[in-house]
């Protein structure tokens, strides 16, 4: 198997920078917009990638001739494409294990030596206030983001939320997740 091209190797190095930056950033960050830390990590890793690509020779000093992409621009954007796509994967996995109920269930199951009943699992998601742990974080974020407004004991969708809701409904129908009205 030949060694991959320069862009792919540098993209792999930049992804390590991305994970390290995100890990450091999330340890320091105290706000509730953590996605900014992840986007910042992507920006810094893309900068590292671009700087390394500009500074290093096409064969990185060790690549065989057959492993060098002849077109430098294609090599650069190929690596950048992989960097962004893998970042998307990291983003999705991060939110899945962080806020998703699936990971929470699996973690609860793996902790319990004698299994867990459904009722015991429910307790994992209950909070003292009226919203469950699944909604406690999301409803305020939608309200702060201008998608919802709380008025007279109910939540109302604002124009921004309607536009987003229409788009999401459209995509959900397109992927077969919702029956057509």
């Amino acid at each position: 198997v030949r060694v991959p091209v320069k862009g792919l190797i540098l993209a792999a190095v930049s992804l390590c920078v991305l994970v390290a930056t995100a890990a450091a950033g999330l340890r320091i960050y105290r706000g509730d917009r953590e996605y900014r830390v992840l986007l910042g990590a992507l920006a810094s890793s893309a900068a590292v990638y671009a700087a390394l690509f500009a500074a290093l020779p096409p064969d990185l000093g060790f690549l065989a001739r057959g492993a060098v992409e002849p077109d430098a621009r294609a090599d650069f954007w190929n690596g950048m494409l992989f960097l962004v796509l893998v970042f998307h994967g990291i983003w999705a996995v991060t939110y899945m294990v962080w806020t998703g109920p699936t990971a929470r269930v699996l973690l609860a199951l793996s902790r319990a030596r004698r299994g867990v009943s459904v009722r015991e699992l429910w307790r994992e998601f209950e909070t003292g206030d009226r919203a469950s742990v699944l909604l406690r974080r999301r409803l305020p974020k939608l309200t702060q983001g201008g998608y919802l407004r709380e008025e007279r004991g109910r939540y109302v969708l604002l124009p921004r939320g309607r536009a987003a809701g229409r788009m999401v409904t459209y995509v959900k129908r397109a992927i077969g997740d919702l029956e057509r009205a």
């Binding site: 990971a103 009943s117 109910r154 939320g161 809701g165 397109a174 992927i175």
Partner: protein, 172 residues
């Protein structure tokens, strides 16, 4: 690398369209459909790469000069990463609680819901029932009597989640 990227992007688009046709509304096992239909995509890609000209009839000469094994392998890698991205986007729209909330609000009369109505459509009971069924279908958990246990794959997934949470130091 351009030829491999173009071919893999086209094949992923065709595969995604085929998956969409095969998935019924509220399909019980979307991942099975995706995996089963993805398997033949790789040999089709290799065959397409071997049988088509280096410039695909459209690429400028500098982009068609990639050594064959390199372009082929890069395309296989692109095929895998693009397909995973499609799967992740699908599951994001399928599973995201925030997007589900927006859909339920968009479909509700006067675009308004009380906390009790929200709990009824996106509450713990509804979501947990759905996820438990999905985890069981994916063979990540098994039921014994009224108790749930992780399978070996479920324990592995939990271990990965635990490590990733520790790396980024995130907790719900």
């Amino acid at each position: 690398v351009a030829k491999g990227l173009l071919l893999s992007a086209c094949l992923v688009a065709v595969w995604a369209a085929a998956v969409r046709l095969l998935l019924r509304p509220r399909s019980e096992a979307p991942l099975n459909v995706m995996v089963t239909t993805w398997v033949p995509v790789v040999p089709v890609y290799v065959l397409a790469y071997r049988l088509t000209p280096a410039d695909l009839g459209v690429l400028p000469a500098p982009l068609a000069a990639t050594p064959m094994p390199l372009g082929l392998l890069n395309g296989v890698l692109a095929l895998a990463v693009l397909s995973l991205t499609v799967v992740q986007v699908y599951y994001h729209f399928h599973n995201s609680i925030t997007l589900r909330l927006l859909t339920e609000f968009a479909r509700a009369p006067h675009h308004a819901l009380t906390p009790a109505q929200i709990e009824a459509v996106c509450g713990v009971q509804v979501l947990l029932d759905e996820r438990l069924r999905a985890l069981e279908r994916a063979r990540l958990l098994r039921r014994r009597g009224d108790r749930l246990y992780p399978t070996a794959a479920g324990s592995l997934a939990a271990g990965i989640a635990r490590v990733w949470r520790a790396v980024l130091r995130v907790s719900p």
